[in-house]
């Protein structure tokens, strides 16, 4: 084994992540090569140094403030959107589906007692819309106990098509 070859493998060797065949060949080389032995020692020293570094924490106030700054509706909007779409949409780059409250337009929490007037459909692919409607109907993703009027879902359909983790609630 050459020094160049050995040195390329030294990190893996130091981490114990090499297959045994390599390990014995490296050990054979190291026993006769001081330069590679020194490289290994330095690598191990570096690992130890990095592993022992202490990092100051951000402080309690930071975490409390950071959590507070997360928009509350974000997760729900995303989950509701996925549950209602519930299907793979191929093709149309932008699909706007008017199916309920204008939730995604609202940065604040929506109020279910305040039905919104329907918002006009911006752009949509009619064929996709029909197909989506049929599948949502058949799938009945959520039990209904009330009524939701309209929502606008805008964006790249592919984002949601790739997301097959539906809200299972």
């Amino acid at each position: 084994m050459t020094c160049i070859r050995c040195q390329n493998l030294l990190s893996g060797y130091a981490d114990g992540s090499l297959p045994t065949a390599h390990v014995s060949r490296i050990q054979a080389h190291l026993s006769g090569c001081e330069s590679c032995r020194r490289q290994l020692e330095e690598l191990v020293a570096l690992k130890r140094l990095l592993g022992s570094v202490e990092t100051p924490d951000a402080g309690l106030e930071f975490w409390t403030a950071a959590l507070k700054r997360i928009p509350p509706g974000a997760a729900r909007r995303r989950r509701a959107l996925r549950a209602v779409l519930g299907i793979r949409v191929a093709g149309a780059a932008i699909v706007a589906l008017v199916i309920g409250y204008a939730m995604l337009r609202q940065p604040a929490e929506y109020d279910s007692t305040n039905p919104q007037a329907p918002v006009a459909v911006a752009t949509f692919d009619p064929a996709a819309l029909v197909s989506m409607h049929a599948q949502v109907r058949a799938g009945r993703p959520l039990a209904d106990t009330g009524k939701v009027r309209f929502a606008i879902i805008e964006g790249n359909a592919r984002d949601y098509a790739n997301d097959d983790q539906l809200d299972s609630q």
Binding site: R76, A80, S112
Partner: protein, 202 residues
């Protein structure tokens, strides 16, 4: 086929209830918060070592938490929350650096790095065999050396040597094959070894 009238479709759509939303939300928020707090040390540590600057680290964590919450439905309970957030932070960091590099002049960048360096304490003790003593006083040089690495090398070194992840775990976080992780790790360490030479040579 004629374009269907949207109004007709709307009437035919099923009625869907989202009234349960609010209660579900507070449970979700509580779960999320609990996960953040129990993983806060490693989350901030990676952000700090990645950005090299405390303020930038806080911004990175903040952005990542917002994204994490929006994507929380994708997090599989029982898996490592902090590693899931590392992945988000890595993506956020790469994006923001790309944006910054586009709009920043070289000289401004250098000035920023200089300020970051000054902000870190650079109390360097005489060479000592005691690694723990060295590391406490070497935070400045160590972070400077990390800052000098390309971001992708820096990330795998942080995850392996500071966070103690295996190659496979690192591969999952950065989304690259193990061979790539191996190579970046080795090259990153070799560069660090040069920069930190005095502190690793026997």
């Amino acid at each position: 086929m004629n374009s269907p009238d949207p109004a007709v479709l709307l009437d035919a759509l099923p009625n869907v209830s989202l009234d349960r939303g609010k209660r579900t939300d507070s449970i979700t928020s509580a779960r999320f918060e609990a996960l953040v707090r129990s993983n806060q040390t490693s989350i901030f540590r990676v952000a700090y070592r990645l950005t090299g600057d405390r303020d930038e680290a806080e911004d990175l964590v903040q952005e990542a938490l917002i994204e994490a919450f929006e994507a929380f439905g994708k997090f599989r309970a029982g898996t490592h929350f902090d590693r899931w957030v590392f992945r988000i932070m890595r993506n956020t960091f790469v994006d923001s650096r790309r944006r910054r590099d586009k709009s920043k002049l070289d000289s401004l960048d250098a000035a920023t790095n200089a300020v970051s360096g000054e902000r870190r304490e650079l109390g360097i003790s005489p060479f000592s065999a005691d690694t723990e003593l060295m590391s406490r006083t070497l935070d400045g040089p160590i972070q400077d050396a990390l800052d000098g690495l390309p971001a992708e090398f820096r990330m795998v070194v942080i995850l392996t040597d500071i966070e103690g992840l295996s190659y496979e775990e690192v591969s999952n976080v950065v989304g690259r094959p193990i061979g790539t992780v191996r190579s970046r790790l080795h090259r990153g360490r070799m560069i660090l070894k040069e920069k930190l030479g005095a502190y690793v040579r026997s």
